[in-house]
């Protein structure tokens, strides 16, 4: 755009943005009026992170995950978390094959490109931790034998913040494994009317066209890691995360894993915008979904109904944007 020498990375970024928008528009045919949530979910996908959707039932959490899987020609599985769910129900088990006289590993539902962990907080902590281990290490180890999960690998977990009876809230250390925590929220009036009009003959997840192959997604993930980040932007990210560690409203600030997550997500956002470089706007836009769930408020702040998003907003409002490269 501004120099002939930048044509190639810019063109690649433009191609990335084009595919990203195609995916988003495809998903938006099912999930109406939730462009921001869709975009964040896709950012998670291309950042190789995992998404925690915290919302009330019936807002399209499951549909969002199914739509992503349908759009990228990827295998998806749904795991309904219940208190009696065992870790092996997720990861798989080794069963003795009498014909071959040996144990054979039978993959669990986690062996898919997109795994929907529905109501993750209803499972026991032991089962939760089994899933979180796969999320982090991207492999399942059974009988000392590792079994890698396919790539891309995106876990979309949901949890209901209202009905808390009989649930096991995710501890903060495990929340940190999720790249983002978002809320889909209710659709606005117009979007909800459109949803009603579209049923039952409107677009359904099963009918969504595939707009990207799994290999395309892998290429886009690879490209996103090469997006340029200027030194001042690094400083900006570190300064922001550092500020959360000293804020009086926060008992626990963002960890270096949080900084890394913010950087990865910002790179994908920049590419999704057709840029081959990250700008502070990318960081600023992703700070709340990427960082907020990693913060622990002080009891005083909770009493005052201060939220982590509110604290982050204040920090961003007072944080000088880097002025020069």
């Amino acid at each position: 755009m501004y120099n002939e020498q930048t044509q190639q990375p810019q063109q690649l970024a433009a191609q990335f943005a084009q595919r990203f928008q195609m995916l988003a528009q495809n998903i938006e045919r099912i999930i109406r009026g939730k462009h921001e949530a869709i975009e964040l979910a896709l950012i998670c996908l291309f950042s190789e992170g995992h998404l925690l959707i915290e919302d009330v039932p019936g807002t399209g959490k499951t549909t969002l995950a199914r739509s992503i899987a349908a759009s990228v020609d990827a295998e998806w599985r749904r795991i309904q978390f219940t208190p009696d769910l065992l870790p092996s129900d997720i990861t798989g088990v080794s069963i003795f094959n009498q014909a071959h006289q040996k144990f054979e590993f039978h993959q669990g539902p986690v062996f898919a490109n997109i795994v929907l962990a529905d109501e993750i907080n209803r499972a026991s902590p032991k089962t939760q931790s089994a899933l979180l281990e796969v999320m982090e290490e991207r492999r399942v180890t059974v009988d000392a034998e590792p079994h890698p999960v396919p790539r891309p690998f995106l876990v979309v977990a949901t949890q209901n913040p209202v009905d808390m009876d009989g649930t096991y809230p995710l501890p903060e250390a495990q929340l940190d494994r999720f790249l983002m925590r978002i809320s889909v929220g209710y659709p606005d009036h117009v979007s909800e009317v459109e949803v009603l009009k579209g049923m039952p003959t409107g677009p359904q997840v099963e009918r969504l066209p595939v707009v990207a192959r799994a290999s395309d997604v892998a290429g886009m993930i690879e490209f996103a890691t090469r997006i340029h980040v200027a030194d001042p932007v690094y400083d900006y990210i570190v300064a922001l995360c550092g500020a959360t560690r000293t804020n009086p409203h926060l008992r626990l600030g963002a960890s270096p894993r949080g900084s890394l997550a913010l950087l990865r997500a910002a790179r994908v956002k920049a590419a999704a915008a057709g840029r081959h470089y990250v700008v502070p706007e990318d960081v600023k836009a992703l700070a709340v979904p990427v960082i907020a769930h990693r913060l622990i408020l002080t009891p005083e702040a909770e009493l005052r109904e201060v939220t982590a998003a509110h604290v982050l907003g204040e920090l961003l409002a007072g944080m000088p944007v880097p002025q020069a490269a």
């Binding site: 501004y2 120099n3 340029h228 200027a230 700008v279 880097p322």
Partner: protein, 701 residues
Amino acid sequence: MSRRRAEPNGGPPVDETGRAGGPVWRRLGGLALVAAVTGVGGWGFHRVFPGTELLLAVVPAATVPALVAALTWRRPLWLALVLDLVLWFAGTVPLYKGIAPGLLGDLADSWRALLTTLLPAQPEPRLLVLAHTLVWAAAVVGAETLTRTRTRVAAAVPGLVVYGVALLFGVDGEGSNLPLAAALVVLIAALALLRDDRPALWLLAGVPAAAALAAVALVAGPLLPIAAEPYNPRDDAELPPPVRVDSVSPLDRVSAWLQIPDRDLFTVKAAKPLNWRLAVLDRYDGVRWTSGARFQPTGGRVPAGDWTGKAQTVRQTITFSGLPGTWLPGAERPVEVDGVRGLAVDPGSGALLAASRPVKGFTYEVTSRVAEPSKADLLAATPVDDPALTAFPAGPQEAMFRKLAQQATKGADVPIKQAYRLQSYLRTSATYDVTAPPGHSLKGLEFFLETTHRGTSEQFASTFALMARTLGLPSRVVVGFRPGQASDGIYHVKSGHVMAWAEIKFDKLGWRPFYPTPGRGGAKDDHDVVSSALKESEELEGEFTQGTVNKPKAGQKPTGGGGRKPSAGPPLWVIVPAVGAGVLVVYAGAAMVLPWWRRRARRSVTGAERRVLGAWSQTCDDLGLKGERALTAEDVVARHPADISAHLRPLADISNFVRYAPDDVAHEAADAAWRHSDAVRQAVRARTPLKTRLRKRLLLR
């Protein structure tokens, strides 16, 4: 039109009729023009030799070679050159009024002598011979070129060269060379026409053209840039070294003259009684004062001193009656001297020197410029920084001189007051006594200061100069005479009127005299006229020294108000509003100019990246976002309506690219950024009422 052909043996060209050099009238006319060009070129020396003596050198030198060429053009060239050489030597006889045995030596030294002579130069043969020879050589080359070649104007080139040399030598001289330049243009144009072989009628058509050309040359000449600051070869010429001009220092004669005070030395006819300075001594070796003057010959002009302000011109006619030595007395700073052959001056001090000892009855005229600086000029004067003029001979006496000088000048806040307090100190602490032992060595002056407290102006002036040097004031000693006894408008100066005084050099003010000798410079009787300079010095001394300044003058009423100082300036009620109004005007001006200047500086900064960032900063300022450092470009865009953000967004993109992209930005992008910035500014102006804009501008936001 006749056609020419070259002679087979290489001789002069001939026309078709067989007549060599074309028609006779053309050849003779051409020679006349060459002689004229050379003569006019030689007359360029008139700024060096303003008198008629130059004619004697130039006219024969320009014309005789032309005559020789006219007579010998059919003969071999060597014959003409030999004849020219003989006649050149003959031409020097009228200059020297006889045969000059050292002619070649004079010729070799003449250019150096001229470059070290202050113009106008004396019309001496040893100097005039240079102009004579140059013109002669140019005339020979020009005339022979004309008669032996078919070139049109090449014969005029030697004359032009002479003119150029004359210009260089005469840069310092008075008068103008422009008429000569115009004459040269006309003559060369005429020569070109004459040598063009066209009919005679054609030549007449050239007359108005040549006249127009001359007029143009006359008008355009002063406009040429070289006319503003011409190169002066004298600036690069090495001046002659200082020489001892007298076996006996004039300062050593002071005591002797005072012992025989009635000896007639010279008379001065002048409109004003002044001190007549004789010699200037600026070097002191601990034993005697000597002169470091570098005398240069001059025809009468003396370079002006440092003071360029108000001054009075005094003309004096001085007649020698018994003054020994070759120093020539004159008042203050001479600017012109008439009637002295072999005159030399020191441009630094203005001291005059005759080439030979003047005889009794020798008369000359001096025009002097008497500086009249105001009191403000004196108070503002600062001493020049010249280590040679503040040098003090090594010895134990320096500390004593310095201590006394510091005590004497205690409380003086400006250099001029220091000098006058020093003068007052010496005039009141010692006694004038003609019988005091002579000499001005350091030992003798120490004895004078500590023991005898008696001396003549020799000791007073020397002591003053040395004490001044310990204070960092550049000083020298001048030997001269008081005005003398007046009779019928003529001042008779006798040996008893001798006086030495000291001078201190101030920046721009030049040398300022001080008279530390008590009793009006040693005047012995009331018949002596006191010089105006001495009176003025005494008045200033009274004013600048402590005790006199605060004394109320007779008849003056004391000021009331319990010792409140009288206000010298306008009252406070005028000053305060005036200063306030001035501050407001300056502030308003700055408020109007600064934003414009800042925008211009940002736009014109070098480097595309810096220009883009300047455009973004400027736009943020225009939007009133100065200081909001937490806003990203996207935040800024989001804050503004569509008509502004339409230009703001591309500008934000370019700005982000410059800041965060790994690539360089092109100049076209910088231009585009400034176009968007201008558009945003226009949109903001359209949305902002005039009052708001004015308020923001005045608040420098």
